[in-house]
Subunit: 139 residues, 3 copies
């Protein structure tokens, strides 16, 4: 079957909480039995994002600081003024990073670099349960 | 047929003009008859971008302000000095956000969050007619 | 579903060195013999990114300046303090831009705008050999 749909759950803490998804995605890819194609990793929701990074605590702190420069938590957000939930910064950060990442695989393996991991960043301002979608398309 | 290609037109105003594409994309997906796979939403051109956001006027203003911090309209751009069209900021913003978004669908439905809409942001400095491509790959 | 996997090598200089990949990707697409589908262009590694831009030297300089504003080279990075390789800025820039781009093709042609080229940006702080993956999925 050329399309296979998977998902898994994750508990997050918000405030740019970063999780390494690589082994989960690789495991689901293996269970698909497909050997060549693309995997799309997607987070439903408007306050989280997906990208890749070297999953090393120093770089992760550096990334969080860069995100704070781009969309600081404690400036004025119209969203907060209207809805009172205080997570305007979360929405802006998520829109800029994006919720989707597509990765090639060959011979059943994600074609990532050695020091390149797939990460979820949860930008919300409270703990969340996230569902991560892993859509495998190939042969 | 496992690949189906669609497109639609949009009039935009530039200067980070944001349009919600979700219902158009969902409608085209439905008309494809495919039930499982991925949809790629793509904007040809070098002065617009695609992402997701909660389509709410407060957040949209907040996003526009963040984009203005990242690539301010009224600073020096080499592009303007050479070409005189004054949209150097538009090109930089578009390159940073990216023109492409890939979304999983299952049972014929885009797997977006409830408050997560697909948006086009037109960064150009004048009204434009945009063509949005919707490529459906699945089964 | 037919999948064809390609790759090619590239020498880069780092420090936001930008390379136009369009003609290479279009050539590989043609050699695949597929006419309708999507192409994923992906760079393995955690210090480079993929996007589109008008490949014009003015805009490229403007983009480099924007990236320097977002993640300046000469500020403190925890990554540098721990690993001593001095490329903390490279990792942060790459995570923000992302390593992947998916483009629709119809009738054997990438559906890019006339002034829209596919680019690699190498953010590392030294010359690198990069492998670019081009995964074609379609029919």
């Amino acid at each position: 079957m050329p399309v296979q749909s998977f998902s898994f759950q994750l508990k997050t803490q918000g405030f740019s909480d970063v999780h390494d998804l690589t082994s989960r995605v690789q495991g689901l890819l293996k269970s698909s039995g497909l050997t060549h194609g693309i995997v799309t990793v997607f987070v439903p929701g408007s306050t989280a994002g997906i990208t890749t990074i070297e999953f090393e605590s120093g770089v992760i702190e550096d990334l969080k600081r860069a995100i704070e420069r781009i969309a600081p938590q404690h400036i004025h957000y119209d969203h907060n003024a209207r809805w009172g939930d205080g997570n305007g910064f979360s929405h802006v950060r998520a829109a800029l990073l994006g919720p989707s990442l597509t990765i090639p695989f060959t011979q059943g393996k994600l074609q990532l670099g050695t020091w390149q991991q797939i990460i979820l960043i949860d930008f919300d301002n409270r703990p969340r349960h996230r569902e991560i979608l892993v859509q495998v398309v190939g042969e």
